[in-house]
Symmetry: C2
Amino acid sequence: METIEQVLESRSIRVTAMRMLIYKFLAEKEVAVTLSDIENAFVKADRTTLYRTIKTFEEKAIVHQIDDGTGITKYALCEQGCNCDIKTDLHLHFHCNNCNETICLTDHKIPQIKVPDGFVSENVNLVVKGICDKCSG
Amino acid sequence: METIEQVLESRSIRVTAMRMLIYKFLAEKEVAVTLSDIENAFVKADRTTLYRTIKTFEEKAIVHQIDDGTGITKYALCEQGCNCDIKTDLHLHFHCNNCNETICLTDHKIPQIKVPDGFVSENVNLVVKGICDKCSG
DNA sequence: ATAATAATTGCACTTCCATTGCATTGGTTT
DNA sequence: AAACCAATGCAATGGAAGTGCAATTATTAT
């Protein structure tokens, strides 16, 4: 089991208290979070710091951005083996219309999508919307 | 061939000059447009009017909203037989990373996506990103 | 250890898009 | 023509994303 420090260092991200806390927060969440969510969890920290921390994590492929159609960008920790930095990596996310939460379905692969002649597919954003397991129960 | 008036009336949308112009603009565009695009095309009209017209069209299922991941909402006329009002209707859009345009690929159906037990799929948002036919040529 | 250097954080501000309240105009109906 | 309701225009707000700069903190070199 890797420690948070090791994760950060392995991606050449300097270890700071703030970054460790944010990483921990993301790791404990099982759903994707917005910047506001993080803001509310760390009221003492400045919004900009949180914003830039997430951006750093994103650049270093520790976190990936999710566009679930709500208009607000969400973020989630990349799973072990997630190649968010590679453009051809396929994400599948589920957005619950009831509780408004977005979940990474990492073990559900996206089928190959055919595009017309002349079009080159580089990336696919697939969001399934509906009712999640907690809300449908 | 239906006239614009007929289209609007059949959806119980009152026919006004503004609405006809906006409908015509959308019909002539082969790509999805942003509110700003419409704004630039109708400099004399107020932004709010354009915004509300689009919202009206959306409610009446004449136009559908597209979230292509650029962060800016885009709109496009629904095709003949498009059931945007029905939640189970599946959209497929292509966003060009080069020219930044978004195209509806209405004749490309989305394959059935499996979701885990307990999850109920109501809708799927699928955006393929890459290079469009014009830019790849 | 201390100075020099570089990265991180916090504050203030800006920009952009989406949205709403309210007054005014314009079209329908009786 | 009067009354009514919808559509339009103006002004303003809210929220999220992003940037510049100063202050702080950590790292490196002397």
